[in-house]
Symmetry: none
Subunit: 233 residues, 2 copies
DNA sequence: TGCATGTTTCGACGCGCATCGAAGCATTGA
DNA sequence: TCAATGCTTCGATGCGCGTCGAAACATGCA
C-alpha cells in the first residue's frame, strides 16, 4: 500500500458546502474578513470560525490580523488552481455581484484610511513606489525605504530622516478593506498624504472619508509614479 | 445568493478515504473490477459497491459490465488531472520524515498518469521535445506541435495528422504532482506512450502505475531527445 | 472607562453517512 | 437444474461533525 499524499484530507476540507463557499469567495486572491466569509457561506460567525480554523490548519488558507478583523486569503495560487480544476469537473454557473452606491464607489476609489491614503488610488500609489524601487516589502508587514526612495521623498519635500519611526517601523503595509491589497501606512504614509494635501493633489470630500484627486494631482501621479487616471477606472 | 458550481459535491466524493483509495487505484486509466477496488480500499464488497455507485452517479467513474464482473474506470483524463492537482497541494513544505519507499521512488521516477507518461522521465521527455523544437508551450495549458515536431513524430511512426484533437487541443500541459512541472498529455501524449510501449522502450510494473525504462528505451531517449539516464537519478 | 463590534471558544444537540450482516440478482460452469 | 462466484440492495447501528446559543476575548470609539 503506497502512502499516497492525503488527497482525501484535502478534499475533505473542500467538501463541506460552507467551506467551499468561503474558498470560492477567496478565489480572486484577495483577503476577506471572517465575518464577510461567514455571510458568503450563509452560516453564523461561530460556525465560520470553526471552518476557517480547519482550513488554516490544513494549509489552504493564510490569515492576517488587522485590528479586530482577521483577513483570510488562499495560501497560494496552487490552491486556486486546485479549486478551479475541481470546478471544471462539475457544471459551472456564473457569479453575479451586488451593485455599489455612488458614495460607496467614491469611497472605494480614494479615501483616508485613518491617517493615510487608501482605496484604489492609495494602492496605485503604493504600487508605483514599489515599482520605481522606492520601497520594498519587508517582514512583519513593513516596507523598507530604499536609498532611491529617500532621495525621491527628499526631492518631494519630505525629509525622511526627520520622521520618527514607531515601534512598528517607519512604513507599514496596511490591508485595504475595499481592494484587499496592501497600501502604505505608518509615519511615512502619514507624511505622504499630508504632502498630497499640501500640494493640492487631493482634496477631502465633505462629511466623508472619501477624497478627490485634482487635475494637478493626476499630473503629479503620472509624472512621478507612472499612474494613469484611466487605468484606475 | 450565488449558487456556485458544486465544487463541494465533487470534493465530497473524493473526501472519503475509501473512495479516494479507489480513485487512486484507477489513476493509471485502466479499468478494474469492483472486488479488486474493494480490496484496494480495505472495505467489504457491500461498502465498496455503495461508494462506487456514488462515484458513478457523480460522474467521476464509468462502468463496463463483462459477464459477472463490473469494470470501473475514471470517467476521463480530466478526472485524473483533478486528482493529481489535489495531490499536489499536500505536504509540500513539510520535511519528509521517512525516506521514500522503493515503490514510491519508482512511482516518482516514471509512471502513467491516466493515459500518458509522467514522473521524472515524463518531464524529461517533454523537456527534450521542447528543447529540440518539436513542441512549443502555448496558451490555455496547451502545447503546439511545430513542423519539425510533426516530421519527428512521423519518423517515429506516429501520423500526427491522423490524431483527433479533443476540444482541449492536441497536446496539453499536465502538472506533475511529484515534480511540480508540466509534462505532455492529451491525444499526442497518449500516442507517444503507446509508441514507447509498442517499441518496448518502457514496460508496466505489475499492479502499479510505475513503469520501467528498458535498455533499448534509454538508447532511444538518448538518440532522439538527448536524455541521459544518469542525469535523471 | 464604558459600550459596541468583530472574532473565537465552549458545549450540546441532532442529522447524515459510512459500515457491515443478511438477503436478493445475475452469470458461469458442471 | 443446482451450486458457486461476483456484485448489489436492504436494514440497522453507531459515530463523526456541522450547527448554533452563550460567553469569553480583543479591539476600536466616544
Amino acid at each position: 500500500m503506497t502512502t499516497q499524499p492525503n488527497i482525501a484530507a484535502v478534499a475533505f476540507l473542500i467538501a463541506e458546502p460552507a467551506r467551499a463557499a468561503m474558498l470560492s469567495a477567496l478565489l480572486d486572491g484577495r483577503a476577506r474578513p471572517a465575518g464577510e466569509l461567514a455571510h458568503a457561506a450563509s452560516v453564523t460567525p461561530q460556525t465560520a470560525s470553526s471552518h476557517l480554523g480547519k482550513l488554516l490548519a490544513g494549509g489552504l488558507l493564510a490569515v492576517e490580523t488587522q485590528g479586530r478583523h482577521r483577513y483570510y486569503r488562499l495560501a497560494g495560487s496552487h490552491i486556486a488552481l486546485a479549486l478551479e480544476t475541481l470546478a471544471s469537473i462539475g457544471p459551472t454557473e456564473s457569479v453575479r455581484r451586488k451593485p455599489l452606491t455612488r458614495g460607496a464607489q467614491k469611497l472605494r476609489f480614494a479615501r483616508c484610511c485613518y491617517d493615510h491614503l487608501a482605496g484604489r488610488v492609495g494602492i496605485a500609489v503604493t504600487h508605483g513606489l514599489l515599482e520605481k524601487g522606492f520601497l520594498v516589502a519587508a517582514e512583519k508587514k513593513r516596507f523598507d525605504l530604499t536609498p532611491a526612495g529617500t532621495k525621491w521623498f527628499d526631492r518631494m519635500g519630505v525629509d525622511t530622516t526627520a520622521i520618527k519611526p514607531t515601534r512598528y517601523g517607519l512604513a507599514r503595509q496596511c490591508l485595504d478593506w475595499t481592494e484587499r491589497q496592501h497600501h502604505l501606512a505608518g509615519p511615512l504614509g502619514v507624511h505622504l498624504i499630508n504632502l498630497l494635501f499640501a500640494e493640492s493633489c487631493i482634496r477631502r470630500l465633505p462629511s466623508s472619508r472619501a477624497v478627490n484627486v485634482t487635475p494637478k494631482g493626476w499630473k503629479v501621479l503620472k509624472e512621478h509614479l507612472g499612474i494613469e487616471e484611466w487605468s484606475l477606472l
